[in-house]
């Protein structure tokens, strides 16, 4: 749609300072997934739902305190717990 995907290698050229976990993103911010940290199990589950490096993510809304976030990825909406969101590293647009 309006997303641009890169092959993995290229994204790593980005400076570390520009990267934040998805859990810290504010509403209406968007960015591109650079890396999924944490176990292969979680990363696989996420990739099956379209959350993998190169995909564009937009935060639609989040709840109070450390509740879940509603995000837009792969042309569809997902609810994701904050703990999982911490494992997704984003380069802000």
């Amino acid at each position: 749609m309006f997303t641009h995907r890169h092959r993995h290698g290229r994204i790593y050229e980005t400076l570390k300072e520009d990267l934040i976990p998805l859990s810290e993103m504010k509403e209406e911010q968007s960015g591109i997934i650079v890396e999924i940290t944490g176990g292969a199990h979680a990363a696989k589950r996420l990739a099956d739902l379209g959350l993998s490096p190169g995909a564009e993510v937009e935060v639609l809304s989040s709840t109070f305190f450390s509740g879940p976030m509603q995000i837009h990825v792969c042309g569809s909406k997902l609810i994701i717990g904050r703990g999982l969101a911490k494992k997704i590293i984003i380069k802000l647009k």
Binding site: K44, L60, G75, G81, G83
Partner: protein, 642 residues
């Protein structure tokens, strides 16, 4: 070989794609259609006849991926590989093409004959998404059929294709990944081909690189060096990409589905629809919670008002049946036990129709509309404090109506650990029968604020038990991740099917045990053992809890149906003015015991069926101990207050 005129097809797809709607439409057998992902866990089968063919249809559980992660997914993969259905019908949600194609790619890797159905084609169009189905067909080399399952549009085309291609499935396009992955596959394939396995060689190579437990175990039994070779290649991939090799392949797959989606889809900007605005309001951090309170509160208010009215109506309807039975069957012991059985069934109906039926209708209406996922979103944080996540609020809400379907709804939780913890907590939720006791006894004679206090106490107890049990149960808590469905106009037909299905399941599961227990307790009563039972229980009821000895018997009957405690108390006293025999303090104590002391017999039977008798009994014993302890402590505290 199978019969010439027989065709077998399976329906496969991610959760929430309308797969069950297709199944219902094709077979006329009605089962659940969920608006939350991955709800159908048991396999459903059906048969239909079309153009002289007998077509067997199997509905596989809603899944995200074919790499074994959870029970349901394992079932689906095994089924496709071992049963070799003639066709795998891949139901795809057109509004979420990119995410759904990831699964489609995995199906194609399995090298089985696939037909792709682009379901909810009309919704996608409305959202401004135009999918080039012909282009997809060309790309994949398999039929791609646009459809709208809720209206049945396009579904006969599936059957036409199935019949047309019956003996002519041929091979189709195989997903190809980046060159590093492909070179690893190429190195593995010659060795795998030597195995002459029933699985496609390329697929085994992929699964070995993906570190699929099941396949590694299988291959290491035949050819250990091959597994080691795959591990070395996998390591090489990991060195290049800096990820686990299984993630590398998943990433490649999602990249591929992104590319295919981009090539085959055009977008039109559409106006912000009412539904999108509604979405923003219902998930907002302030208005979302206000709206949720209003909606759930309104739902309970209307169910209870309707239920009380209807149950009163049924009471008058059934009031003469006992006398008719006596004049017809006499008053012998057998006749009396027969009446106990009938009474149990009537009791079940009096819960099922006035309370559970309207409750289910409203619940499924909310679900089909798409609202339930919003509740999961809003409640996730609170649920996490109990070691479970947002999806658990669905069984909780159902449990407020009746614990039995509440426990059954725990199936939507991902792991056995989550499922069991949620079920235990559901048994502690005051169901409509317990609410009758709380309001009929405490609310009416002690004060409405005391009744509210009891509800607060239930919430606190559930929190505490949730915290403790999530510590005790081994295993990592699972984080919430689920697709958020768009709001859509609820389909009355879907809602009614689901309601009917759940109601049927409730009656099937509950009735045998309710009848047996009803007859058994009645027999003990007839034998004149009840005073002895009351005497045996009196150290607890009289000494510790300070209640009249008769409550021991009431609590035993309460196992059948909790509101029997109140009904039988009235029968025993010959009046409904409970203030004559119970002090406020005793009323509160009795209400607390009734709330927690044991799930009713129907709930126990569900726990038994889903988790085994050991766990069911453990829950009963612990809850009895907990209720007696808590009520006794509260009684002593109340001694100072009241």
């Amino acid at each position: 070989m199978s019969d010439e005129k027989k065709i077998s097809i399976v329906l496969a797809g991610q959760g929430n794609t309308g797969k069950s709607a297709v199944f219902n439409y094709l077979t006329g057998l009605h089962q659940h259609i969920g608006n939350w992902a991955g709800k159908t866990i048991e396999k459903s089968e059906g048969t239909l006849f079309y153009k002289g063919f007998t077509i067997d249809v199997v509905d596989l559980p809603g899944i995200y991926s074919l790499t074994t992660l959870s029970e349901e997914e394992a079932i689906s993969r095994d089924y496709i590989i071992n049963q070799k259905p003639d066709f795998v019908i891949n139901i795809v949600d057109s509004t979420n093409l990119e995410r759904n194609l990831i699964f489609t790619l995995q199906l194609l890797e399995l090298d089985c004959p696939v037909i792709i159905v682009l379901n909810m084609y009309d919704l996608a169009r409305k959202k401004g998404i135009l999918i080039d189905s012909k282009g997809l067909e060309k790309h994949f080399g398999v039929p791609v059929i646009p459809a709208v399952a809720s209206r049945g549009a396009g579904l006969s085309k599936i059957l036409d294709k199935v019949v047309e291609l019956k003996d002519n499935t041929g091979s189709h396009w195989q997903p190809h990944f980046g060159k590093e992955v492909e070179s690893c596959i190429d190195e593995l394939i010659p060795d795998i081909s030597d195995l002459k396995s029933k699985y496609p060689a390329r697929w085994i190579a992929l699964k070995l690189l993906e570190k699929d437990r099941e396949i590694i175990d299988m291959i290491s039994g035949i050819n250990e060096p091959l597994v080691r070779k795959a591990a070395v290649l996998g390591k090489k991939l990991e060195d290049i990409h800096g990820h686990d090799s299984s993630v590398v392949i998943s990433d490649e797959r999602s990249l591929l589905s992104f590319q295919i989606t981009r090539e085959s889809t055009t977008y039109k900007r559409t106006m912000q629809t009412i539904n999108e605005r509604l979405d923003a309001i219902t998930t907002h951090r302030i208005s979302g919670y206000i709206l949720m309170t209003l909606i759930i509160g309104g739902m309970f208010f209307s169910v209870f008002s309707f239920g009380n009215w209807f149950s009163g109506l049924l009471d008058t309807l059934f009031s003469n049946w006992h006398n008719w039975w006596n004049s017809f069957a006499g008053t012998s012991v057998t006749a009396s036990l027969g009446w106990a059985a009938i009474e149990s069934v009537l009791a079940l109906f009096q819960i099922a129709f006035p309370y559970i039926l309207p409750f289910y209708i409203l619940l499924y209406l909310l679900e089909d509309w798409g609202y339930i996922a919003r509740i999961s979103f809003l409640m996730d944080n609170m649920m996490h404090k109990m070691g479970i996540h947002g999806k658990a609020c669905v069984p909780f809400i159902i449990g407020l109506g009746c614990n039995v379907p509440g426990c059954m709804a725990c199936r939507i939780m991902e792991t056995r650990r989550e499922r069991f913890i949620t079920a235990v907590l559901v048994t502690m939720i005051p169901c409509s029968a317990v609410s009758v006791i709380i309001f009929g006894l405490v609310g009416k004679y002690v004060g409405i604020w005391w009744a509210m206090g009891l509800y607060l106490m239930a919430v606190a107890a559930i929190f505490a038990v949730g915290k403790i049990s999530s510590r005790l149960m081994l295993g990592e808590p699972v984080e919430l991740i689920m697709p958020m469905p768009d709001f859509k106009t609820p389909q009355i037909r879907t809602v009614l099917y689901q309601t009917w299905d759940s109601l049927k399941e409730f009656v099937y599961i509950a009735s045998p045990i309710v009848i047996i227990a009803g007859v058994l307790i009645h027999a003990i009563n007839l034998a004149g053992w009840m005073p002895a039972v009351a005497a045996v229980l009196s150290p607890v009821t009289v000494t510790w809890l300070g209640l009249p000895a008769i409550t021991g018997i009431l609590l035993i009957f309460g196992i059948l149906r909790k509101e029997l405690i109140l009904v039988m108390l009235a029968a025993y006293l010959g009046t409904t003015d409970f203030a004559q025999v119970l002090s406020p303090q005793q009323m509160i104590t009795l209400a607390i015991v009734s709330m927690f002391y044991v799930p009713c017999i129907a709930t126990i039977s569900v726990l038994w069926k889903e988790y085994g008798w050991k766990k069911a009994m453990a829950v009963c014993v612990l809850e009895i101990a907990f209720a007696i302890f808590l009520a006794g402590v509260v009684k002593r505290i109340l001694g100072f207050v009241l």
